[in-house]
Symmetry: C2
């Protein structure tokens, strides 16, 4: 079913952090924070990133500007209410701080958002978590400056207004979502991304690609019923601004993605991937993402025994970007009829040399599958351990992500999702 | 001379106001300001815009949110230190205000920036005016929220970090320039632009075009010597983000500019012009503009007896966008050799059907001249009253704009500028 609103929306919104981009950008954070008047700053990171020395180097810049900086390096790689609370408690005990810097991937940046919220506003974590899991309260007081320094090319968390967490007691993944959570500044230093292993570059890069492609294909803002100002949310549907960021991200991926995976020391490819990640973040943080990201929740959550290249070997995992990518070809075959031209254009941006398929609906899935194979993504759901017996559970997990499915360009039923999963077991 | 820095810059920066775009967007400002906690708001506008009733409609929205709003409608169409001071004195006397809304073109938005600065920070206007005219002091305290509502499609002032003024005693045009001056939010409501006369649409539209084309062709950020963080300025040279905004603005102009001038009731063309204006603003407010804008200062400032269509008839004037456009074709012939491909690409974006000229350097000037003729821009400098006897004075005026000339993609001498003026007397 496509959408024909009686009173179509005419307004879209756009917000973004300030950006400082380029080799060496992370060496100027002390100065940038000094402009905010900050005196005590918390640097938030995870143990793996802390081991690279980058967070401490960021902290060490502060003294020159009379700013005291402490590093909190206990971010959990899969944030939970407990890990957020640990970080918040630490910040409250060691504080007060008047600004923070997140160094790392999505988990570090999201944890810093939660710290920022709960050290500036009254109440408990669950007061602010999205309904129905939490109370969905909006912050009543201004948050502090938050500088986000992504060290992987993928997350986009430096641009988003959300932090994602598992609520352990309820066994559910949810988030806190409010425009005030958006970092005030993104510092993107491509040199920090040079040490990503090929497997991480591939998975995280598929997250960039899906951010761009899902926001490009998301339900257009004009197909919603008109909202009151009170009803507006940061994710407002595909619009001329998000389209611009998303399409440019896809063009950057076309020339840099394979090179960055196979020649990790190619600084131009790394820089273009960092740009693509930033651009895709600027786009999807305003337009939204849909089916592949919704499917990723149960794919990552129900992992059995898969241990991907380039990631820590201790625990089984399907990395976020990989889990997003595995059903993307079939998801975009499903959405093709909502806007054939847009799907063909996306395929052409991602691979200008691709030959047209007999059925135009095959073009984008074909381009995606070829790329995934070339960069070493496993051969879809079967390769990460799923089979037909998992479909019902996977579908159930996807259907819980109604906030994401609502951004799809047409209604998505359980049968639709089941067909997408069944089409995604193996490809090549 | 082109630029070969010994230690090239590797970093660019990007900042922008939050954006709310679309028909009806200006009806939600009361709600948007209520989120900032504002209780008393000053609406800043000029007498002409005030007569349309829009500023009062914006003020009237505030009561529903418990916000008191006053309208100041005495903005001068060519702001001076005296007109800024009048506005600041009014705001201080009627205040305190904790937010402001600028409704109008560049003068209203720039005046609101000056009010915002001088009602939140200590000292006098001249303390903050750019050196050598003023002291160039940076604000020491945070400014208040400022919502900019452009009513013409051209200014870009909703995105910029500068306010322009004539300092009367010194007979010089200068500005106040600081990142803190950038409006916090731009509200772009295309319906407010429907009543622009054709002549205003044409002139203001040439301002959009030159914003896009000058930032697209500006000296790239990588051709500067490396800056310290303290040395960075908002206008950092052409970069991947400004290129994206500028090129998309040119593509929008290609399909909407002639239609908006000749069919002012075409809502799609008006919407696309409003988008183009916003996009060009997002671009040039980070990259900078150069020769055509530098030349515009003396062209507008030394006007003799020209009275353009669509503008008030009392005083002679060369409207800003017109004054920017009149030397643009020759300026881009002069800069062609710095990057032939970029100049050809720009011509192709502005007119995809244009046939290649015998000399590729002619293509962009030809495309621009044809557009200017089609939309009723006068036949260049002669048509607005200038002749050979004015060249020395015009060149002198341009050479004072070193801040702008520094953004050109090559060195610009007095002889270069004189040749551009001499080539711009008449065309068709």
């Amino acid at each position: 079913m496509s959408y024909h609103p009686a009173d179509p929306e005419s307004i879209f919104t756009y917000g973004a952090p300030r950006l400082k981009f380029g080799n060496g950008a992370s060496e100027e954070i002390g100065y940038d924070l000094s402009l905010t008047g900050a005196r005590r700053v918390l640097v938030v990171t995870d143990p793996g990133i802390a081991a690279t020395g980058t967070p401490q180097r960021v902290a060490d810049q502060m003294a020159r500007f009379g700013i005291e900086a402490l590093v909190y390096d206990q971010v959990h790689v899969e944030p939970t209410d407990a890990s957020f609370q640990h970080a918040i408690d630490h910040a409250l005990a060691a504080g007060p701080f008047d600004a923070s810097v997140a160094v790392g991937g999505g988990p570090s940046i999201d944890t810093a958002k939660a710290i920022n919220l709960l050290t500036t506003n009254p109440g408990e974590l669950m007061d602010y978590v999205n309904v129905p899991v939490g109370q969905g309260r909006a912050p009543s007081k201004p948050l502090h400056p938050l500088v986000a320094v992504p060290t992987t090319t993928g997350t986009g968390a430096e641009s988003t207004t959300i932090c994602v967490l598992d609520v352990l007691e309820q066994q559910v993944k949810t988030g806190i979502s409010h425009a005030a959570l958006r970092p005030t500044m993104a510092v993107v230093d491509p040199r920090l991304t040079l040490t990503q292993p090929a497997g991480v570059t591939a998975s995280a890069g598929m997250d960039i690609l899906c951010h761009a492609l899902e926001s490009w294909s998301a339900r257009p803002y004009t197909t919603y019923e008109r909202k009151t100002p009170e009803e507006r949310v940061p994710y407002c549907g595909a619009n001329p601004v998000s389209d611009m960021w998303s399409s440019r991200a896809m063009q950057l991926l076309a020339t840099s993605f394979r090179r960055a995976v196979h020649h990790g020391d190619d600084e131009q490819a790394r820089t273009d991937m960092a740009l693509a990640s930033t651009f895709a973040g600027m786009g999807f943080s305003n337009a939204g993402v849909h089916i592949p990201h919704a499917n990723a929740y149960p794919i990552a959550g129900r992992v059995k025994d898969f241990h991907p290249e380039g990631y820590p070997r201790e625990e089984p995992m399907v990395p976020h970007g990989m889990s997003v990518s595995l059903t993307a070809p079939e998801a975009f075959r499903f959405t093709f009829d909502t806007n054939p031209q847009r799907h063909v254009e996306a395929a052409r941006m991602l691979d200008p040399q691709a030959e047209m398929t007999d059925d135009p609906a095959d073009l984008l899935p074909t381009v995606l599958a070829r790329l995934m194979r070339d960069i070493g993504i496993p051969d879809w759901l079967a390769a990460v351990g799923y089979d037909e017996s998992d479909v019902d559970h996977l579908v159930g997990g996807t259907m819980k992500q109604q906030r994401l499915l609502a951004a799809a360009p047409k209604d998505v039923t359980e049968d639709d999702v089941a067909a997408i999963f069944r089409g995604s077991f193996a490809n090549w």
